[in-house]
Symmetry: C2
Subunit: 420 residues, 2 copies
């Protein structure tokens, strides 16, 4: 799979692909992508909307939608291709769509928000077409409309959104069935048929935490768990069993949780599916639904799951053989301020110095190429201009030498202050 | 605190108190405890109710409410006192109240169910009075009625329910504010004022998982997490800061999770409360609400939290110094079939053989005496008749020698099949 062989496998620059970037249009720029029957509603909404985010308005926001600027900033950071998750506010949403679940939205709001996401998808297709082979755009759907989501996924496949689908969460209270419900079977079917990965990004699966003083701290404590649980929801509901070619990606939710979690899931799978359940045992009371799983959870993981390992930490890289070297995809979280951009080259040294070149090559780009269909050969010349060399990444970086400003990224702060 | 000193501290039988037992009345027996205005409703409800549980009807169910039988069965198991959580179905409930959250219940149902729980509390006060000093009954409340709950807690304190309060969960979709909401401040206040512990029992905090094939397996995978999260909800909402004398108990949700969880919470507390948050960092975005916490999460734990460590496993006992030897309270989960009853003596040997006597004494009874107000001196004569001696518990038990029927308890199954 790597584009390089022989000597060049050890000396060619790394083709660095960020598996976790974010982008979107400025609010007004969505209008032409919106079905015309929503234009009057849109004008009224946009006139009254007060954008609550500093980083998706103002002069810095342009990197979300300015194609040339974005390419230049990523290249300067050593990155030649990217997976594009949403970031800005689509029409009719009160917040960024990634963290805005539908609870409380009236049917009318849901219909209009769905139109807003479709506008984003159409804008995104054009944005990706501006840089062929370098952007895998991720299509947004809404779980309250499974049939419409299936149609949208087909549209996305036909229009070059190779990033696949962003699977929202379905937490309790969200008004849609949980992800282990059979209701979503048509979505799994169409993604498998079209070879599109299903992405689950941290932040999109948490419930409404309410407007309480401690809510934002507790959101931060729990946000990755809400995303993680989708792994066992899908496995134990048999989704990975019934769709062996379907690929899932768990993005920006850490890496270190995987080995112990797989051990735990394998343990429960053994208890629930095993034949030894005595009368009155939890096996007897809770088992029965698991007879159809032909693999263990860790075997499904190895076959069909991967991580978007945004700003992966060194102690997580040390777990790579238990996670699977082929399951880890580095990401920068560009343009988020808690990401490792614009210090990705420093981050790669922190995370990967001393790791064998071929393993680094897989984790920083080749795995993402496999999952999202990037052409490594086509990207190799760009990597020679912009990418780091194996020698660059192999040079250890002392945490004391990190720029102070970089400490806003948890990975850099942990390296400096915790030594991990 | 232990009742024994000098030589007797090493030779006296252990005063074994189960921090996790369950009981309740048969359905009809609740009627006289129900306010008379609900009697007609009750008769109509009871006539149509089909009890879904084999273990709270039929000949085995009597141990839930037959005082003499229960004492004899616990004594035969080596246990001289117990904390009594609910088990049977109170008036107007479709299931056992421990796992039945209010979502979807109409206001009328909530009012009637609340009357049903009050009837249980009154029955329980009589049941505890049947065996003075040997039963700490746990009072049930309903979170939709904070004012009424406070009144009920005062009633419970006046009527000898020394087990304190069963704090239900408040998961998303349950229709009540989350436990980190300020709404519950009057409950914390009255429990602190009266010196009543607040108990959070696994199973009571999970949301409605829906009626899907995988739901019961996923419930089993997640049920302890739903209970665990209450720990950080209460800490980060400042409940333990504002109420330094309030004691919390986390029951039947494992023990091994505590050391790593406290490390994680301390880490986040440091990030969120620390002064080093750079612009754009998560600290800057999410902090602010934590300035009022004068202790770290692990310090609150050591001051105000303990575990009801039902059928604790050996590898968890090995973590006791990181959890706190004074934080662990053994429990049998009587009369549940997944508990270690009627093999508690075997379980104590599996879990504690080789552990210093004074540490065992704390974990099997003295800690529970401190939290629930049992009088160890008064119980010592019963322990001499029924309890295991230090020499009994110090005798290792080979997992191969466990009765096959005991394997329905996960602790025994793990010892036999996993060696843990």
């Amino acid at each position: 799979m790597p584009a390089t062989t022989g000597d060049s496998a050890t000396t060619a620059n790394y083709v660095v692909i960020s598996s976790d970037c974010h982008g979107g249009a400025d609010i007004g720029a969505y209008r032409p992508y919106l079905e015309s029957r929503y234009h009057d509603d849109f004008d009224a909404w946009a006139a009254g909307f007060d954008n609550p985010y500093d980083d998706v308005k103002g002069p810095e926001a342009g990197r979300n939608w300015d194609s040339a600027r974005r390419l230049a900033e990523l290249e300067a950071d050593g990155v030649v291709a990217e997976v594009v998750f949403p970031n800005t506010i689509p029409p009719f949403f009160p917040k960024v769509s990634l963290v805005e679940q539908p609870p409380g939205a009236s049917a009318g709001d849901l219909e209009r928000r769905w139109a807003g996401l479709r506008a984003h998808n159409r804008w995104l297709a054009d944005f990706c077409a501006d840089a062929p082979g370098r952007r895998a755009g991720v299509c947004q759907i809404m779980l309250h409309d499974v049939e419409g989501s299936v149609a949208e996924i087909r549209w996305a496949a036909e229009h070059g959104l190779t990033g696949g689908v962003l699977l929202p969460g379905a937490p309790p209270g969200s008004g849609v069935p949980p992800l282990y419900a059979p209701d979503y079977e048509p979505i799994w079917q169409v993604c498998e048929e079209l070879g599109l990965p299903v992405n689950h990004h941290s932040g999109s699966a948490a419930p409404d935490m309410g407007d309480y003083p401690a809510a934002s701290a507790i959101f931060l404590l729990e946000v990755t768990w809400w995303a993680h649980r989708t792994l066992w929801h899908l496995i134990f509901a048999g989704v990975l069993e019934r769709h062996p070619d379907l690929q899932f990606v768990f993005t920006e939710q850490g890496t270190a949780w995987i080995p112990d979690e797989l051990t735990r899931l394998d343990y429960y799978h053994g208890r629930l599916a095993g034949a030894g359940g005595a009368s009155g045992s939890q096996e007897a009371r809770f088992g029965g639904s698991l007879g159809k799983l032909s693999l263990t959870p860790s075997e499904y993981w190895a076959r069909q799951c991967q991580l978007g390992s945004s700003f992966i930490r060194r102690h997580e890289v040390d777990l790579r053989h238990r996670v699977g070297v082929d399951r880890i995809m580095w990401g920068s979280d560009f343009p988020h301020l808690e990401g490792c951009w614009p210090w990705s080259k420093e981050h790669l040294r922190l995370a990967f110095a001393g790791v064998p070149t071929e393993e680094v090559r897989a984790m920083v780009g080749a795995n993402a190429a496999r999952v999202y269909g990037f052409d490594l050969d086509a990207l190799a010349p760009l990597a020679e201009r912009f990418g780091p060399s194996p020698a660059d990444v192999a040079a250890p970086l002392a945490p004391a030498d990190l720029p102070d400003e970089s400490l806003r990224c948890p990975a850099f702060a942990a390296a400096r202050f915790l030594g991990t």
